[in-house]
Point group: C2
Chain length 146, copies 2
C-alpha cells in the first residue's frame, strides 16, 4: 500500500533465536541488513510479490516470499516463492519448465510489497494461460472523470 | 499464487451472523455469489490487489481489499482499498486527488489476488513518485537461460 510508514527497525538488535520470518524483527535474515529492516512482513512472515514480464509489463502472477525466498530470488537469477499451502519453498519452473529469469527486484514505498520483473518462459499460470489473470475478468463498472 | 486450488464454498450456507470478512465463508458478502465463493481471503479477510495503469501496463501499487472494498471498486468506477494500518476503507484520491478510475477487475486462477486496471490521475504513491516501486530497486543478480 502507499500509506503506511516504513517501520523503524534495527536488524540484529533482538534476541538471536527469533526466526527470520518473525514480524518486525530480522536478526536471522539472510538479506542485506537494510532490506531486512525495511521489509514489512505479514503475520506469517510473508510479503506479496508481484511478478511482471519485463518487456511487455504484463502482470503475470502474484506470489509470496519470506526473507529466504527473497534472498534466493535476489541472488540466484531465478524466482523462488514460499508456498502458503504447501509451506515450502518453490522455485518457479522446476516442475513445469516455466522458469522466471530475474531482471530486477524492487520494494515498494512502505516495504510490504515486491515487484519482480522477469523474463517468463512459457505460461506463468499452472492452468496454461500466459498470466494468472487472463480471461478472468469480473463484471466491473468502468469509471471516468467528470 | 498459481498452485493452490480454488476452495469449494457455498455462499449463504453458513450461519448468517458470520462477518463478511471471515475466511472461507461469505454469507454476508455484498459481492456476486460466484465471486464471493471464489475469493480466497487471508486471516484478516483480505486479498491482495495489484493496481496497474491500463494503457502502459505499469504496476502502480499494491493494496488490500475485503469483500466490501472489492464490491465498491466493482460498482462505483473508483478504486477503494481496506487500510490494514488504519482499519478503515480508503477511496484512493479522496485526500490527494490522485484518483484511480477503474477500467477492469480480474481475479487470479486461485482467487487470492486481484488485478485492477485503472487510469491513474497523477502520482499513485504518497511519496509523489508515479508508482510505489519507482527508484526502489534492490541489488539483485539477473538470471538468464543457458
Amino acid at each position: 500500500m502507499s500509506e503506511q510508514p516504513t517501520p523503524v527497525q534495527t536488524a540484529g538488535s533482538a534476541a538471536s533465536h527469533v526466526p527470520a520470518s518473525s514480524v518486525g524483527s530480522s536478526p536471522a535474515s539472510p538479506l542485506p541488513k537494510e532490506v531486512a529492516a525495511a521489509l514489512k512482513r505479514d503475520g506469517a512472515g510473508l510479503v506479496a510479490a508481484v511478478v511482471q514480464q519485463y518487456d511487455t509489463n504484463e502482470v503475470l502472477m502474484l506470489g509470496w516470499m519470506d526473507d529466504e525466498a527473497l534472498h534466493r530470488t535476489m541472488t540466484t537469477g531465478r524466482v523462488t516463492f514460499y508456498s502458503r499451502s504447501r509451506q515450502e519453498y518453490w522455485r518457479k519452473g522446476d516442475t513445469s519448465g516455466h522458469v522466471q529469469w530475474v531482471k530486477s527486484v524492487a520494494m515498494d514505498c512502505d516495504g510490504d510489497a515486491l515487484l519482480v520483473r522477469v523474463d517468463q518462459v512459457g505460461a506463468a499460470c499452472h492452468t496454461g494461460t500466459r498470466t494468472c489473470f487472463d480471461g478472468r475478468d469480473l463484471d466491473a463498472v468502468a469509471g471516468q472523470a467528470g
